[in-house]
């Protein structure tokens, strides 16, 4: 599933809400209602559902604390929130490590058995997921952050640069390096020619 959901245009954009919250702090809760489910999903994928809600709370507490530094020329605050959440993920590395291990361990049991051919295709796709999970876990932190924000959260290059506080060129180069490493890892396992078939079959 693509993560492309965005709120319908609201009465006040995020920048206006944040600006008003400088003097009326309770307005900041609007930001939570708009974005918390997305930050939660992102957190759950990275460090597991168990620790995700804490990370959501920490993200919004941190954002609230630094709201006076928000650049109000950006109407959408979600990339900013992703950036704060990503920094916090860095402090939960053990949870993230554990999450990758869990993903690898749990994958074969995700689907109930079905038609024999479907099972065979599914098993292959599971094998691919395992490889991919392992390859993601092995990426340098900075490259993994960029890749995940773009691939899972559908941020644009600009938004990713803003979220992580890095230049646009660095986003491009990190993404290219990360993709190259994934391709290498998958090719090394002999899966490079069957990616499309596997996805199609599934």
């Amino acid at each position: 599933m693509r993560v492309a959901e965005r709120d319908a245009p609201a009465a006040a954009d995020d920048a206006e809400v944040i600006e008003r919250s400088w003097h009326e702090p309770e307005r900041f809760a609007v930001l939570f209602d708009r974005h918390a489910p997305f930050i939660h999903r992102y957190a759950a994928r990275r460090i597991g559902a168990e620790a995700a809600e804490d990370l959501v709370a920490e993200t919004f507490l941190a954002a609230f604390g630094k709201r006076r530094h928000y650049d109000t020329s950006y109407p959408d605050a979600r990339p900013w929130l992703y950036g704060i959440a990503t920094n916090l993920v860095g402090q939960h590395r053990r949870d993230e490590f554990r999450q990758y291990r869990i993903q690898r361990a749990a994958l074969p049991d995700l689907d109930p058995p079905g038609h024999a051919e479907r099972v065979a295709a599914s098993v292959t796709a599971h094998g691919m997921r395992r490889l991919l999970t392992a390859a993601l876990a092995d990426l340098p932190d900075g490259e993994r952050d960029v890749l995940i924000l773009i691939a899972w959260e559908q941020l644009s290059y600009d938004e990713t640069a803003r979220a992580l506080g890095i230049p646009l060129g660095t986003v491009r180069s990190r993404l290219n390096r990360a993709r190259g490493r994934l391709r290498t890892a998958l090719a090394a396992a002999g899966h490079s020619e069957t990616i499309t078939e596997i996805l199609h079959d599934e």
């Binding site: 709370a57 920490e58 919004f60 691939a151 994934l182």
Partner: protein
């Protein structure tokens, strides 16, 4: 379809939660907002009084104020009071967080400040630790560790096969547990053809051994070994904070999940002495209130501590705090685990 689509489509789904499912997180934000409003009123009243008595006082800058100290102190006190001293049961001889070994003195407060004091502390810890008796697990055994979390009754149980060649088990309260796929140190190693310090790290799996007999006891070789098996990662930059955070978490991970030979633990301490990003905190408390010596570092404004027994230098636990700027109830220690038991058993899932 390209590789980016593959990442998008083949990564595990996580549902988009309903807002109502996030009520606890929202309450924490609401409390912080309420705290700031109260704070602002108090400040306004004080400013008004100050204005009456000192008309030349400068106006408020309007910048964010520091977190409320009172709330933090109360929260820490509550955590300490609630931690009704769960007696640690350590079944691995010579690896007891709570019980001090016969010889030894409480950690002396090394003279000097900051990094110098930390380095002296680490070298002293290495001296005390290095010659403790070793009691490694048998090759077919499992290393069992049990942790307790901060501020809540969450007990984590982890079984890792000593050699990493059998399924491990990771069990949290109310969960059936997750099978951890086997992965020995040899399987986890970065291939030789990979240039040092670079990627791809086409390891077949993430190391999952409870005992690492091949881990060097020489600090000069230790860091390279940790890089090689993926427990530490050379950073994009060589910043002090990044290096301390990366290595600190590697040490934390090893001490909390793995049986370390005394000489290996000593080598970790000796290596820590070479990192400038650590400071020592006497009187640090772990997640269940046990007092020890904290090894502290700060990354992105957020402090983390590894807490050691002040006499034996055995691992007690870890704690992390949010960066300054957090307000309200969330400003207390938000994460942390205390190691309450380490033992060897014959099967994953078996309790000692």
């Amino acid at each position: 379809m390209n590789d980016l689509d593959l990442v998008t489509d083949l990564t595990p789904e996580a549902p988009l939660p309903e807002l109502g499912d996030l009520a606890a997180a929202r309450r924490r934000l609401a409390a912080a907002i309420a705290a700031e409003r109260t704070d602002a009123r108090t400040r306004d009243e004080s400013a008004e009084k100050a204005h009456l008595t000192a008309p030349d006082s400068p106006p408020s800058s309007g910048r964010a104020r520091p977190a409320k100290r009172l709330a933090l102190t109360a929260a820490v006190a509550a955590v300490a009071a609630a931690a009704a001293v769960a007696a640690a049961l350590i079944l691995v001889p010579g690896h007891s967080p709570s019980a001090p070994p016969a010889p030894g003195r409480p950690a002396a407060r090394p003279s000097g400040t900051g990094n110098v004091a930390a380095a002296r502390f680490f070298l002293q810890a290495a001296r005390v630790t290095r010659h403790l008796p070793a009691h490694p697990p048998g090759p077919d055994q499992f290393v069992y560790t049990q942790t307790e979390g901060a501020g809540r009754a969450d007990v984590g149980r982890l079984w890792l096969s000593a050699e990493g060649n059998k399924d491990g088990l990771d069990q949290n309260p109310g969960q059936r547990g997750f099978k951890l796929p086997p992965c020995t140190v040899a399987q986890a190693q970065v291939p030789r053809k990979t240039p040092p310090g670079t990627y791809p790290r086409t390891m077949k799996c993430a190391e999952a051994a409870g005992y690492l007999p091949s881990m060097p006891v020489n600090p000069d070789k230790l860091l390279a070994y940790l890089y090689k098996i993926g427990i530490a990662q050379p950073g994009d930059s060589n910043g002090t904070a990044w290096a301390a955070n990366d290595f600190g978490k590697a040490v934390d991970f090893l001490m909390s999940t793995t049986y370390l030979l005394p000489a290996q633990q000593a080598a970790l301490f000796e290596l820590m002495a070479r990192f400038p990003g650590f400071t020592i905190v006497h009187g640090a408390r772990d997640a269940i209130g046990r007092v020890g010596v904290g090894i502290k570092w700060t990354f992105n404004g957020s402090p983390t501590e590894i807490i050691l027994n002040p006499v034996s230098y055995a691992y007690l636990g870890d704690r992390t705090w949010p960066a300054p700027g957090f307000h309200g109830p969330g400003a207390d220690a938000y994460d942390g685990a205390a190691l309450v038991k380490m033992a060897f058993v014959d099967r994953a899932g078996e309790l000692p």
